[in-house]
Symmetry: C2
Subunit: 173 residues, 2 copies
């Protein structure tokens, strides 16, 4: 019965996660995953991203940047990806620790200097820093929350993708 | 008349972009932009990201990772953001160079080792590398395309955000 309780805590399917971890311990190559997306330009600064069979995600720039505001812009999408990834991390690690999450919201903001994007100088076109505030309502003690927070930030795929330099290979085909 | 032709090439509003660049040359602080997102956890590995007044973007993990497949997962969203950002870069820089884009699609893939995310070891939980193929049909010569490609990759906000280490400040509030 305790297995069932663990499975449904936070509505997280820990059996699936544990099953995958078990498979990887038997065959480490199972951990080598590849993820895909395809982007199609739709004129102006509008584009859409296709991921598996999901509806395409619309992207555009706001009018001040020459766009038509048909969707969030790419740098906003990066913040969304980070927040969504942290949410998975909190849900997974809280469940493992037996912590019930009542509510979780994550506020993200990033600072970006437009000079390089606009061709006004060379340098860093990307975020100079990203700040995240995690608002969690749970049955955990402050100490448990700090331990949870540490686990999440030390194992976040998007967090690490952003906080480390990722080799990009961008080619004209 | 040539101004009008430039404005409508690729349906890109270069007047707005040039206007912003002009404002920044007069007042460099105008280039200091801040971007926001808020993520709300919806149980399990489901969450949604709210950006300005756009409809929330749904995020989830596939069943093999313990999710219910209610949307693209966060690492896929990172690839989408990069592709969308490159599309803006190609559209903007092609327009400045007088290149007409007939068609543009961008295929992205990233490699990620799940060991760290699953708590099986410490290390890099994020992408070890990201590969991008840009398929562009235009009236440009190969030399013009190479120059365009170089400009885009040297000035891409999401490209630089990924290829450089961004300071992340993630706090429990």
């Amino acid at each position: 019965m305790s297995t069932k309780a663990t499975t449904t805590l936070n509505d997280v399917n820990m059996e699936a996660v544990a099953g995958l971890a078990g498979k990887i311990q038997e065959a480490p190559d199972v951990a080598d995953t590849k993820w895909l997306a395809q982007v199609k330009w739709n004129g102006g600064f509008r584009s859409e991203a296709k991921i598996r069979d999901f509806s395409p995600l619309s992207s555009d720039e706001p009018p001040a940047l020459g766009g038509t505001d048909n969707g969030p812009n790419p740098v906003e999408q990066v913040l969304a990806a980070l927040g969504n990834c942290l949410a998975v991390g909190y849900a997974a690690n809280a469940t493992v620790a037996g912590i019930k999450i009542n509510d979780l919201t994550i506020d993200l903001e990033g600072d970006l200097d437009l000079h390089t994007f606009l061709g006004l100088n060379e340098g860093n076109a990307g975020y100079s820093n990203i700040s995240v505030k995690v608002n969690i309502d749970s049955n955990a003690t402050p100490e448990q929350l700090e331990a949870l927070h540490s686990k999440v930030t030390n194992s976040s795929p998007v967090g690490h993708t952003l906080s480390r330099a990722v080799p990009l290979n961008i080619e004209l085909s």
